[in-house]
Amino acid sequence: MTVLTLTAQPSRDAGMAPLPWRRMVWVTWRQHRATLISVPAVLGGVALFLLLAGLKVHHDYAVLAACHGAGAAACENRASALTSTDWTMANTVLILMNLAPVLIGAFAGAPVLARELETGTFRYAWTQGFGRVRSTLARIVLIAIVLAAVSGALGVLFAWFFGPPMRNTGMTPGEATVFVTRGLAFPAWTLAAFAIGVFLGMLIRRVIPALAVTLGAFLALDLLAWLVVRKLYLPELAPGRIALLQRQPAVPHFWPAQFIEAGWLLALSALLVAATLWLVRHRVA
């Protein structure tokens, strides 16, 4: 048997400067590779679909717009055909976009700590030199950056895709279901769902129950926003159909409302991350 010896001992005061954060980039990538590949891959697939479907939708409505005023009956037929096909598709995608934040956030967030606690690997991870609070924070922030980027991009693409059908049906970006898929609100909701997932994962310590409770908590938050909070900053427009293909009036206070919605969601997320880190620091088996 070869005798292996360890080389020189570390000096006692090896300058206890914290380990550099950048080391966590590879660590996070390697440990959460499944999430960091699958979420962008699925959303990439969705984006490709939105791109192709969007080109068709935009083409269809361009044709419809050109048709306008020619043969009235022919145009009616074309319009009703679009309503039944393109609108059905667009509406389905809209529903999926409303669910996307919770699906992305819970799937990515709940396992971050729950898996470590469930499998016992936290006893490895949290006794390494990096320190458990710092390494947990780094992992959360790095995953959050990726989620914000991909969900933000998806929101922009969806807004482009959804423009013609929305205009055609007289919906406005001020309507709650559309409002949350746009601008800052969409990535903010995704991050909030992620933060809820991470926090509940730490609290519940098991992946599947944490996932389930995350879904419930998200729906409760969504309901709260819809029934109470959003009314404070997003004025409801008087219902009424805008004539087909008419240029839509700008929604008043749209961007301020987006900033407010994203603001409180991000504040809530930050609070949940802080609570998670507190639990990591203080509450271990």
Partner: protein
């Protein structure tokens, strides 16, 4: 330097105390064995020393006064938890890389050489290793960090005899070559006796006995004599345990030195470590006993034969 120092250390989960008022001092360079039945608080103590569990009472310090869990303590302490947890979906090579990134020092050369010697391929997933190999991987990761204190929680529990020997061989090599201090626990008393030179006996969340193996042995002896006089002897000596067998009684007593007189009509024998430890484990509610001083006298037990 004391590699472990605790003072009044305690941990309660709600109202249940897993460890109470634990005051310990383990000098550097020792292989300290933590002995006790299930639920005695061994894992809790190790977990607190490793900085994983936060104490609810008292203080824990390692490596000459670094508070457990502090950056300096984490840096110099290698911890292999029970069942040697590793990320099962990661390859062994990735586990090395991961540990290297999470620590200030990592001896890649040592880690790779050890895994090669153990016949563990770097490309193999950690979850596909046998129990013994997984324990060896976890130990290699901990040792490659070049710790000055290595804490092992029931490292042998899931291993076959051959793997146990290999595992302890690795630990003893690190101790001999590098002066790593070790704290380990196991139910295999015989195995601990071969490795350890310092013993800490825990029962019901309390330290019953702690000290250097040689001091402990020198500080106790077994007296054998007529059962009828056992009561009288017990009243004169600092006793740990009385065992009556028919006409004879065996009384385990603490002594201050080899010159302590033997009661007339009684025979004195040296006591074995295993015998001594078992006697302390049986003693109900004895207070902490750092070293062989006879200042503290726990209630002795009577074991009928």
């Amino acid at each position: 330097m004391n590699v472990i120092e605790t003072s009044g250390l305690g941990k309660s989960y709600g109202r249940v105390a897993a460890l109470r008022d634990c005051t310990l001092t383990v000098p550097a360079g020792r292989a300290a064995a933590l002995v006790g039945p299930n639920g005695a608080g061994k894992s809790t103590l190790k977990s607190m020393l490793a900085g994983l569990t936060i104490p609810t009472a008292g203080t824990a310090a390692v490596l000459g006064g670094q508070p457990a869990g502090s950056a300096a303590a984490l840096d110099g302490t290698g911890f292999v938890a029970q069942d040697a947890p590793v990320y099962k979906s990661l390859s062994c090579g990735d586990m090395l890389h991961l540990t290297a990134n999470l620590n200030r020092r990592f001896d890649h050369e040592y880690a790779q050489a050890r895994l090669a010697e153990l016949g563990i391929p770097l490309k193999k997933k950690a979850g596909k290793l046998s129990g013994g190999q997984q324990a060896q991987l976890a130990l290699t990761l901990a040792l490659a960090r070049r710790p000055r204190l290595l804490i092992l929680d029931e490292p042998l529990a899931a291993l076959d005899p051959l793997a146990r020997q290999d595992f302890m061989g690795t630990v003893m090599t690190a101790m001999a070559d590098d002066g790593v201090s070790v704290l380990l626990s196991s139910h295999a008393l015989a195995e601990l006796e071969r490795v350890a030179d310092y013993f800490i006996v825990l029962a019901s969340g309390e330290v019953r006995l702690a000290g250097d193996a040689d001091d402990l042995l020198a500080g106790h002896r077994m007296l054998t004599g007529p059962a009828a006089e056992a009561g009288l002897v017990a009243s004169q000596q600092s006793i740990v345990q009385i065992r009556r067998a028919a006409a004879q009684a065996h009384v385990l007593v603490r002594i201050s030195g080899p010159d302590e007189p033997v009661p007339p009509g009684w025979e004195a024998h040296a006591v074995g470590l295993e015998e001594l430890i078992l006697a302390y484990l049986r003693a109900p509610g004895g207070p902490a006993q750092p070293g062989p001083s006879a200042a503290l006298r726990p209630e002795p037990t009577e074991v009928a034969r």
